[in-house]
C-alpha cells in the first residue's frame, strides 16, 4: 500500500430510499486506492461493489433516490462535501468511469468523435477543431485502427471490443488521475476481454493512472491488480495484497470464491457459482456476521455479533471474520 | 380430452382448488378495485349517468319536445334550472335526454365494434392468410381520421340514429381488432396451444375456448375507451348536422343550437357542454382504472386516432 492514497473511502454508506423503505447497498465501506495502483473490487452480484464505484462519483440521484454518509477523500477534498457543480468538475475530468456494456453506454445518435469531443470541451477551454484532433489522438492511444475514420462513425457500427476502447478513450480524454472500471470486460468475448485488460494495464503503467477495477472475476483480479478488496452484502470482508490473499485467503467467503475460480486458461465468463447458498436481498440482512448463513465455520457468536474488519497480527491482510485466526492457522 | 379442458397450461388437480383460486382472485380483484381511485370515481359517475338515463322522464317531469313560446331563451331560474332554448323547451330535460342518447349510442357502438373487432382480431391473429386481407382493410380504415370517415359515410347514408351507430361501429372496429389480434398472436405462440393443435382440436374450438379468454381484458379496456370516443364523435357529427337528426335531443344537437345563441344565451352552450364532458370523463376514468386493474402493462396504443 502506498503511503499517500489517491482515493480513500472511509465508512461510506449509500442509502436508497425506495417505496418499500430504506435499503443500504453500501454499508460502511472503507478502502484505499494508492497512486498508480490497480485495485480490484470483487464479489457476487448484489454485493455492493458496483454501488460503491458509482457512489465515488455520486452518480445516484440525490434528489429522489440516494443519500450518502461517511467520507470519500480524493485529492485533498471530501467528495461528499462538494457542491453539484464542483462534483461535475470532478467527473470525467479527475475521475473517469467506464461501464459494463459499451454499446448501451454510448449515445447511439452521436458520433464516436463527437462523444469524446464533448468530454474534452466540458472540462478544457479548447476549440472544436483542436478537440477533434485530440479525439483522434485518444482513439489511437487506445489502439483503434484508422481512428480518423472511426471518429466519424456511430457506436452501432463498431464491434464490442472497439466500443469499449472508445469508452476508455472518452474516459482518458482529460487525463484523469483515477479510472473506475465497472465490470469493463463482462460483456465481451474472452479474447477481447484479455485485450481490454491489457490496454487498461498498459495505460496504468504509461500514464501513471490509478485504476479501481470492479469485477466478479477473481481471475481478472489475479492477472491485473496489485491489491484486492472482497465485498459481501455491502461490506468489505477482506482486503489485502493480491499475492497474499490468493496464497492464503482468510475469509470463508474469499475461500469460497477461490474455489469457484475457473482455471486461467478456461472460460472466464461464468459467474461465481460454487459458494453455497445465495446472496439474501438487502432488506433481509442477517443478524451478526452477514455471511454466517452460508458459512461452514459459522457458530453462535457469528450469528449474533458482527466481526470488525481488522488485520491479524503479523499480516497486512484485513479480514472481517471471527475465525480468521483459526483459518490462518495461527490459533486453533 | 378432459385434461386439456382448462384455460391454462397447468391443469388444476381438482375442481375444488380451481374454485377456491377463482374466489381468491375475485376477492383480490375487488380489493384492488376499491383501492383504485379512477375506477371508483368512474363507476360512480357511470352509475349516476345510468340512473339519470333510466329515470329521464321522471327527473324533470317535462316533455323534451314541449314548446313554450312565452318562455323562450330564459336564463337558469328555479323553474328552469338550466334555462330554456330558443323554442322555450326546458334545457334540463333536453340535457338529460341528450345524455341518455349519448350513452345509448356510445354503448351500442362500443358493444357492436367490440363484438365485430373481436371476431376479426381473433381470426386474423390465428389464421395467417386471413390476417393479410383483414388487417390490410383494417389499416386502410385506421388511416382515416375518425370524424372524417364517419362524416363521409353519414353523408351517404343520411342522418339517423341507426345509421350513426353503423358508421361509428365501422370507424371503431379497427382499433379493437388490432388489440385483439396482437393478444391472439401472443397466445397462439404458447406451447399448449400448439400442443392442442397437434392433438387435433378444431380451429374454432381453439380460437374461442383458448385464445379468446386472453384477449378479453384488453378488449374490455379498449371497449371502454371506444365508448368515450364514440360519444365525442357522435356529438361532433350531430353538431355538424351529420349525426342524429334535429329535434331529437342529443348533446351534439344541443351544442349546435347553443352555437346560434352563444352571444346572449350562454347557458345553451355551457350545460350541454358540461354534460358531454362529464360523460366522457366518466368513461375515461373507468377505462383508466380498468386498464390498471386488468392490463397493467398495456400502453394506450390504439386509443387515440
Amino acid at each position: 500500500m502506498s503511503a499517500e492514497p489517491i482515493l480513500q473511502i472511509n465508512e461510506l454508506k449509500t442509502h436508497f430510499h425506495t417505496e418499500r423503505g430504506r435499503v443500504t447497498p453500501v454499508d460502511g465501506v472503507s478502502l484505499e486506492v494508492g497512486r498508480g495502483e490497480i485495485v480490484g473490487i470483487v464479489g457476487e452480484s448484489g454485493c455492493g461493489k458496483s454501488a460503491t464505484a458509482q457512489s465515488v462519483l455520486r452518480l445516484f440521484d440525490e434528489k429522489r433516490l440516494a443519500s450518502y454518509e461517511g467520507e470519500i477523500r480524493f485529492g485533498g477534498r471530501d467528495l461528499l462535501g462538494l457542491t453539484p457543480k464542483q462534483m461535475r468538475g470532478v467527473r470525467g475530468n479527475e475521475i473517469s468511469m467506464i461501464f459494463q456494456d459499451p454499446l448501451s453506454s454510448l449515445n447511439p445518435v452521436y458520433t464516436i468523435g463527437g462523444q469524446i469531443v464533448e468530454t474534452l470541451r466540458l472540462h478544457r477551454p479548447i476549440g472544436r477543431k483542436e478537440a477533434a484532433a485530440k479525439a483522434i489522438e485518444l482513439l489511437r492511444l487506445t489502439g483503434i485502427p484508422a481512428p480518423e475514420r472511426r471518429a466519424r462513425e456511430y457506436p452501432h457500427q463498431l464491434s464490442g471490443g472497439m466500443r469499449q476502447r472508445v469508452m476508455i478513450a472518452i474516459a482518458l480524454a482529460c487525463e484523469p488521475r483515477l479510472l473506475i472500471a465497472d465490470e469493463p470486460t463482462t460483456a465481451l468475448d474472452v479474447t477481447i476481454q484479455a485485450q481490454i485488460l491489457e490496454l487498461i494495464q498498459d495505460l496504468n503503467r504509461r500514464l501513471g493512472m490509478s485504476v479501481m477495477l470492479i469485477t466478479h472475476d477473481l481471475g481478472v483480479v489475479a492477472e491485473t491488480c496489485s491489491r484486492v478488496v472482497v465485498m459481501y452484502l455491502g461490506q468489505v470482508v477482506e482486503s489485502g495484497d493480491v499475492r497474499d490473499v490468493f496464497k492464503a485467503p482468510l475469509h470463508p467467503y474469499t475461500i469460497g470464491l477461490m474455489k469457484a475460480v475457473p482455471r486461467l486458461d478456461g472460460d472466464r465468463k461464468q459467474e461465481l457459482p460454487d459458494v453455497p447458498g445465495s446472496v439474501p436481498p438487502l432488506h433481509q440482512i442477517p443478524q451478526g456476521c452477514r455471511f454466517a448463513p452460508r458459512c461452514a465455520f459459522a457458530d453462535d457468536k457469528c450469528r449474533s455479533a458482527m466481526p470488525e474488519l481488522a488485520a491479524l497480527p503479523g499480516s497486512d491482510t484485513r479480514v472481517r471474520c471471527w475465525h480468521a485466526g483459526r483459518i490462518a492457522g495461527t490459533e486453533d | 380430452m378432459p385434461l386439456l379442458d382448462t384455460n391454462t397450461p397447468a391443469a388444476f388437480d381438482s375442481d375444488d382448488a380451481r374454485l377456491r383460486l377463482k374466489r381468491e382472485n375475485r376477492k383480490l380483484f375487488a380489493r384492488r378495485f376499491v383501492a383504485n381511485k379512477s375506477a371508483v370515481i368512474g363507476s360512480a359517475l357511470i352509475a349516476l349517468i345510468a340512473v339519470v338515463s333510466l329515470f329521464a322522464p321522471w327527473i324533470s317531469g317535462r316533455d323534451p319536445y314541449g314548446l313554450d313560446v312565452v318562455n323562450r331563451l330564459k336564463p337558469p331560474s328555479s323553474a328552469f334550472p338550466f334555462g330554456t332554448d330558443n323554442f322555450g323547451r326546458d334545457l334540463l330535460t333536453r340535457v338529460v335526454y341528450g345524455t341518455r342518447m349519448s350513452a345509448e349510442v356510445g354503448f351500442a357502438v362500443a358493444f357492436a365494434s367490440s363484438l365485430i373487432g373481436l371476431v376479426i382480431g381473433l381470426y386474423a391473429g390465428y389464421i395467417k392468410w386471413l390476417d393479410q386481407i383483414l388487417m390490410r382493410v383494417m389499416d386502410g380504415l385506421f388511416a382515416f381520421p375518425a370524424v372524417l370517415l364517419a362524416i363521409a359515410m353519414m353523408a351517404a347514408l343520411g342522418p339517423s340514429v341507426g345509421n350513426l351507430i353503423v358508421c361509428l361501429t365501422i370507424v371503431f372496429v379497427p382499433s379493437i381488432a388490432r388489440i385483439v389480434r396482437s393478444s391472439a398472436l401472443v397466445s397462439k405462440e404458447q406451447t399448449y396451444i400448439e400442443a392442442m393443435h397437434a392433438l387435433g382440436a378444431s380451429r374454432n374450438r381453439i380460437i374461442w375456448k383458448h385464445i379468446m379468454p386472453g384477449a378479453l381484458s384488453p378488449l374490455i379496456v379498449q371497449g371502454s375507451f371506444v365508448f368515450a370516443e364514440a360519444i365525442i364523435v357522435e356529438a361532433a357529427l350531430s353538431f355538424l348536422g351529420a349525426g342524429i337528426p334535429a329535434p331529437t335531443p342529443s348533446l351534439g344537437n344541443l351544442l349546435s343550437d347553443g352555437k346560434l345563441f352563444i352571444y346572449n344565451s350562454s347557458w345553451m352552450t355551457i350545460f350541454p357542454g358540461l354534460a358531454l364532458v362529464l360523460v366522457v370523463l366518466a368513461m375515461n376514468l373507468f377505462g383508466d382504472g380498468l386498464r390498471d386493474l386488468l392490463d397493467p402493462h398495456a400502453r394506450r396504443a390504439g386509443k387515440k386516432r
Binding site: 452518480l59 429522489r64 461535475r88 468538475g89 470532478v90 467527473r91 470525467g92 475530468n93 473517469s96 461501464f99 456494456d101 448501451s104 453506454s105 454510448l106 449515445n107 447511439p108 445518435v109 464533448e118 468530454t119 466540458l122 472540462h123 452501432h156 469508452m167 472518452i170 | 382493410v137 389499416d139 386502410g140 388511416a143 382515416f144 381520421p145 370524424v147 372524417l148 370517415l149 362524416i151 363521409a152 359515410m153 353523408a155 351517404a156 347514408l157 343520411g158 356529438a235 353538431f239 355538424l240 348536422g241 351529420a242 351544442l255 352555437k259 352563444i262 350562454s266 352552450t269 355551457i270 357542454g273 358531454l276 364532458v277 366522457v280 370523463l281 375515461n284 386509443k303 387515440k304 386516432r305
Partner: protein, 314 residues
Amino acid sequence: MAFYIARRLLATIPVLFVLSVIVFLIIYLIPGDPAAVMLGDGASPETIETLREQMGLNLPLLPQYGRWIGHALQGDLGDSFFMRQPVRTALAEHLGPTLSLAVLAELVAIVIALPLGIRAASRRGELADKTLTGFSLFGITVPGFVLSMFTVLLFSVQLKWLPVSGYKPLSDGLWMHLKYLILPALSLGIVQASLLARVTRSSMLDVLNESFVKTALAKGVGERGIVYRHALRNALLPILTVIGGSFGTLIAGAAVIESIFNIPGMGQLLVNSVQRRDYAVIQGVVLFVAFAYVLVNLVVDLLYAIVDPRIRLK
C-alpha cells in the same frame, strides 16, 4: 438508407389502395340511385341518366373504380355538382385556411407539450409532473369543439378580446390572420398537446433510464445537457410519430372547429357538401385528407432516419 426509403414507400401502397377503395365505395352506401338522390325529386329521367353517364355509374364496378382512381391519380377528382367547378379547384380554394389552422394548432401543441413533458420526466413527482397528469385527463375528456365554444364564451363574448368567428387570410396581415385563428388553434392544439405531453414524458423517462445517460453523467455533463443533448434526441422518435399522426386528427378536428368559427376551410367545404349531397366533393375531400395523412406519416418515417443513425446506416 435507400433501401429503407424504398421499403417504406412500398408499404404505403396497399394502405393507399384500401383507402381509395373505401372512399370509392362510399357512394354505394347511398340508398337508391346516387344520381337520383343528388338531383332531388323533380328531376327528369333524362337528366338523371345524363348524370349517371357523367359519374360513370353505368359501368360495372371494377372499370368504374379504375376510371375513378385513374382520374384521381392525375389530379382529376371530378366536378362539384353544386358549385359547378372541378373538385380540385374547390379543394385548392379551401386548403389554405385549414392548413393555417392545423399548422398553428400543431405549433400550440408542441410549444405546450414538449417543455411540459420533458420537465415532467426530468423532475418526476414534482409540479410539472402533477400538472401533466391533470392536463392529460383534461385533454382526453374535453372534446376540442366543446373547449372552443367555452373559449369563445370566455374570450370573445365575456372579455371581448377576440372576434367570435370569421377568417382573414394571411394577405390581410399576419396579426389580422392570427387574431381570427388564435381561439380555434388554441382549442385544437391544447387537446392535441395533452396526448403529445404524455408521450413525451414516457419516452423521455425510457431514455433517461438508459446506460448512456449514466455515461454522460460520469463525464460531468450537467442536468440540462443530459436532458436536452443526450436524452431528448433519443426520445424524439415516438414524439415525431405522434406529431405526424396528429396532423390527420387536426385536419379532421378542424372540420368541426371551422364550422364553429365560420372559417372557410376544407372542413366547412365538407360539411356544406354533406348538406348539399355533393358526393364528388365529399369523396374528394376525404380522399385528399386521407392521402395527405398517409404521406405525412411517410415523411415522419423518413425523418426517423435523420434523427437516428441506426436507421439511416442500416
